[in-house]
């Protein structure tokens, strides 16, 4: 078996989440190749080559893959997928955007957000927002999987995999990147945070959430864990919850739309 892992990267650096996916790939077992796609990604490829357990890094360095738009990236992975039994990616907005497209191009199912590997074709994944855990078995020849990073401990660094260029360039006349507005923050991204502090009802009201910043600073250097990961909301006790700025991989419950239920159809 051989496994292709799509490297996740932001701002010219390899995202730590990739090391968790390599760990999941190790549990499946087989040769592990990492695909680094993007524009100007040689430093990222070198970082990926240092991850333990990686046998080869394949680099698709082309303007077509800048910002990892779904259309060209999926075409690239589908092109390479013939060499592999499994294709894995982080269950991030990038992985979730690209991999289902790859799966459909290869006419196979995709398995989303696995939290454990039972065997090479059987995986555990949360359903109903984590209120149940399903064990699923794929009968497809190619398994396309996104990995929830919190289910797997990251692999270390110390490898020195070979780096090989991929020449395939996907045409894309359909989608164009316009711009990106990234939240500026001196705290890490939620998925990469070592410590997550959550405040609840005991905080009294939304303004008090800033008290948590002090604790965060005490727990790590100020440059370390910090992200406005909450949009604190104060509301009556019947609906009291703070709405995460986005769903955390560490929380099992996603916040659903704040309105009360859909119109019920009269019988």
């Amino acid at each position: 078996m051989s496994i292709l892992v799509l490297a996740e990267h932001h701002d010219g650096a390899l995202a730590g989440a990739t090391a968790h996916v390599v760990a999941a790939a190790q549990q499946i077992g087989g040769d592990i190749d990492v695909l680094v796609a993007g524009e100007g990604v040689s430093a990222i490829a070198e970082a990926a080559a240092r991850l333990d357990g990686v046998s080869k890094v394949r680099v698709a360095d082309n303007a077509a893959y800048a910002h990892l738009l779904a259309e060209p990236t999926a075409a690239l992975i589908a092109e390479l997928a013939g060499d592999y039994s499994h294709v894995l990616a982080v269950a991030s907005t990038t992985g979730k955007n690209v991999l289902p497209r790859v799966a459909a191009l290869k006419d196979v199912a995709q398995i989303s957000e696995i939290i454990a590997v039972e065997s090479a074709d059987t995986f555990k994944r949360p359903i109903y927002a984590g209120n149940a855990i399903a064990t699923v078995q794929s009968e497809d020849a190619l398994k396309v999987i996104t990995v929830r990073t919190t289910g797997f401990d990251a692999v270390g660094e110390g490898g020195s995999a070979a780096i090989e260029a991929v020449d395939f360039v996907a045409d894309n006349a359909q989608s164009t990147f316009i711009n990106e507005e990234l939240a500026q923050s001196d705290r890490p991204e939620l998925g990469a945070a070592k410590v997550v502090i959550s405040g609840g009802r005991g905080m009294g009201n939304g303004d008090n959430f800033k008290l948590l910043d002090g604790i965060a600073d005490k727990l790590g250097p100020p440059s370390a864990p910090r992200a406005p990961r909450w949009t604190p909301v104060s509301c009556p006790t019947t609906c009291r919850w703070a709405r995460p700025a986005r769903s955390s991989p560490r929380t099992s419950t996603l916040p659903w739309a704040s309105r009360v239920p859909s119109s019920t159809w009269p019988a």
């Binding site: 932001h10 910002h67 779904a70 259309e71 999926a74 907005t93 979730k96 955007n97 690209v98 289902p100 497209r101 799966a103 459909a104 191009l105 196979v108 199912a109 995709q110 398995i111 989303s112 994944r125 949360p126 359903i127 109903y128 927002a129 209120n131 149940a132 855990i133 399903a134 064990t135 699923v136 078995q137 794929s138 497809d140 006349a173 359909q174 989608s175 164009t176 990147f177 316009i178 711009n179 990106e180 507005e181 990234l182 939240a183 991204e189 998925g191 410590v195 727990l219 986005r246 099992s252 996603l254 659903w256 739309a257 704040s258 309105r259 009360v260 239920p261 859909s262 119109s263 009269p266």
Partner: protein
């Protein structure tokens, strides 16, 4: 421009789910069902585009058992013009649904297809992307803003670090995130009118596809029971527990 909106019948999001005692699946007997919340947002977005004069017709589609027609009627009450039901009692997963939708896209030739980004039962987050691949159309997933300008659509996507805007050529596939809009409630007169709106029923065989899933559901278990909390006497004890028991700080 015609808009196709896909909706899914799922367990109501307020209902606390129970796993069947034999661990075969989640127990859905006598449970309140509703339209998937992300699909409601998709319907609402289509209706708003029609109100703005961008869209001329909204077709609501679902793939699933006969009872799913209730959700199509809900979509019709919210403002869809007609509905198509691909009826099947199979356990349909994303790829099967995407194949059915791809056939309907071919038949209906919509300018825009709007879907919810994920269903709150299987939490797969796949169908829109798969439909885009099968139809060869561009995709704008996790949309928090959709602007149609001439032959193109600008979609602002909610990504991990913030927001990303992409421009797609039409026709295109858009999947909705929570902040795209706040869906309206259906008014009683609209609910009554929706009963008279046309609803076509097709089978997967009519479309020439198979929807059965190749992913076997082996077992469904409740998540690990949450341990009760403990009260600590001092800050030192708390720090000690965080360090040595929970190992969250070092």
């Amino acid at each position: 421009m015609k808009i196709l909106v896909a909706v899914k019948r799922v367990i109501d999001y307020n209902v606390k789910i129970r796993v069947k005692p034999d661990n075969s699946d989640v127990d859905l007997t006598n449970v309140k069902m509703a339209m998937n919340p992300f699909c409601e947002i998709a319907v609402e977005e289509a209706v708003r585009l029609k109100e703005k004069g961008v869209a001329t017709e909204i077709v609501a589609v679902t793939v699933g058992p006969k009872a799913a027609q209730e959700q199509l009627r809900t979509a019709l009450a919210l403002g869809a013009d007609r509905a198509i039901h691909v009826e099947t009692d199979e356990r349909v997963e994303s790829l099967g649904a995407a194949k059915a939708l791809a056939k309907l896209v071919e038949e209906e030739q919509p300018g825009l297809v709007i879907l919810g980004k994920q269903a709150i039962d299987t939490d797969n987050n796949q169908t829109g992307q798969m439909l885009a691949a099968l139809t060869g159309l561009p995709q704008g997933t996790f949309a928090s803003e959709v602007k149609v300008e001439g032959e193109k659509v600008q979609v602002t996507r909610e990504i991990d670090g913030g927001l990303q805007t992409v421009e797609l050529t039409l026709p295109a596939i858009v999947t909705t995130d929570l902040r795209l809009n706040e869906p309206r409630y259906a008014k009683l007169p609209d609910i009554m009118k929706a009963k008279k709106k046309p609803l076509d029923v097709k089978t997967p065989a009519d479309l020439g596809i198979e929807v059965a899933s190749k992913v076997k559901l082996v077992k469904v278990e409740p998540p690990a029971e949450r341990q009760g909390g403990v009260k600590v006497d001092s800050v030192d004890e708390l720090v000690d527990k965080l360090k040595n028991e929970a190992k969250v700080i070092s």
